[in-house]
């Protein structure tokens, strides 16, 4: 088995880089997908990535405030999911489509 040099403790930067990767994946999904629900799921992915940053910095400063903020983000995400999914339901009722390009009444 090759000897991979692993550090004794995980560098803090790795967590933040993981957070950046997840956030970028969320942005990619938000931009490239056409289904309204998938776009919404990508937004949740971005919120999760930001939560990871909060918890990481909470570890760095050994304070609990980051956890509280990430808790509030979760609460707001729950409220946002409820309202957003209700909006998606309304769109589907009025237009019978989930394609995001079809819903363009506000364009021009």
């Amino acid at each position: 088995m090759p000897d991979i040099p692993l550090p004794q403790s995980v560098p803090l930067a790795w967590y933040l880089i993981l957070s950046a990767i997840l956030f970028t994946l969320g942005v990619a999904g938000f931009l490239f997908r056409r289904n309204v629900i998938t776009v919404f799921i990508s937004i949740e992915l971005m919120l999760n990535a930001v939560n990871l940053s909060f918890v990481t910095f909470s570890y760095k400063f050994k304070q609990v405030d980051g956890h509280i903020f990430s808790f509030f983000v979760m609460v707001v995400a729950a409220a946002e999911a409820a309202v957003g999914l209700a909006i998606i339901l309304t769109i589907f009722k009025n237009r019978q489509t989930l394609e995001i390009d079809e819903v363009s009444s506000l364009k021009n």
Binding site: I21, T24, R33, E44, L89, L98
Partner: protein, 167 residues
């Protein structure tokens, strides 16, 4: 050593599931992949000493919010999204630009944080529910109460938006 192995394992799970969220064409596959990301992130929170937040992640996010998503997907009977031709520059410029964004972010993070600091499991002991509750009901009491109003408004909004029109 064990910390690094565990972190890499969970990070790999999170990234693979995250890529799956973006690549899957069926919404239900995306939603289930997102559950994988959330589970892996909950374990990473636990490694960072956030016991309460790891539990809340599993219960609130992976439990409640994802059930809402899956319920709506099943209610709307959402199918695969159809392939439409994209503009050429979107296909060829999008992914390199995102890769450049990750690269710049990683560079900045590496420059700003000293390398010597590391995360050891168990070094952070402030994340237990006792400490969280003490902070939440002392310093953060007003935001906590405002949040309840926000959720009430969200419930009312969801009910108004999704109700059936009565003639």
């Amino acid at each position: 050593m064990e910390d690094a192995i565990l972190f890499l394992l969970f990070a790999a799970i999170a990234v693979v599931c995250g890529i799956n969220v973006v690549l899957q064409t069926h919404p239900i596959s995306s939603a289930l992949s997102l559950v994988g990301v959330m589970g892996a992130l909950a374990l990473i929170y636990l490694q960072l000493g956030g016991e309460f937040i790891a539990a809340a992640q599993l219960i609130v996010y992976a439990g409640a919010i994802m059930v809402l998503f899956v319920f709506v997907i099943m209610l709307l009977n959402a199918g695969k999204e159809q392939k439409l031709p994209r503009r050429l520059w979107v296909t060829y410029a999008g992914l390199p630009l995102l890769a450049i964004f990750i690269g710049i972010a990683a560079f900045v993070i590496h420059r700003m944080l000293p390398v010597t600091e590391g995360v050891k499991f168990g070094a952070m002991t402030h994340g237990n529910p006792q400490e969280i509750g003490r902070a939440l009901f002392n310093i953060y009491l007003l935001p906590f109460e405002v949040t309840s109003v926000l959720i009430l408004i969200a419930i009312l909004g969801a009910v108004v938006l999704a109700r059936k029109e009565i003639e």
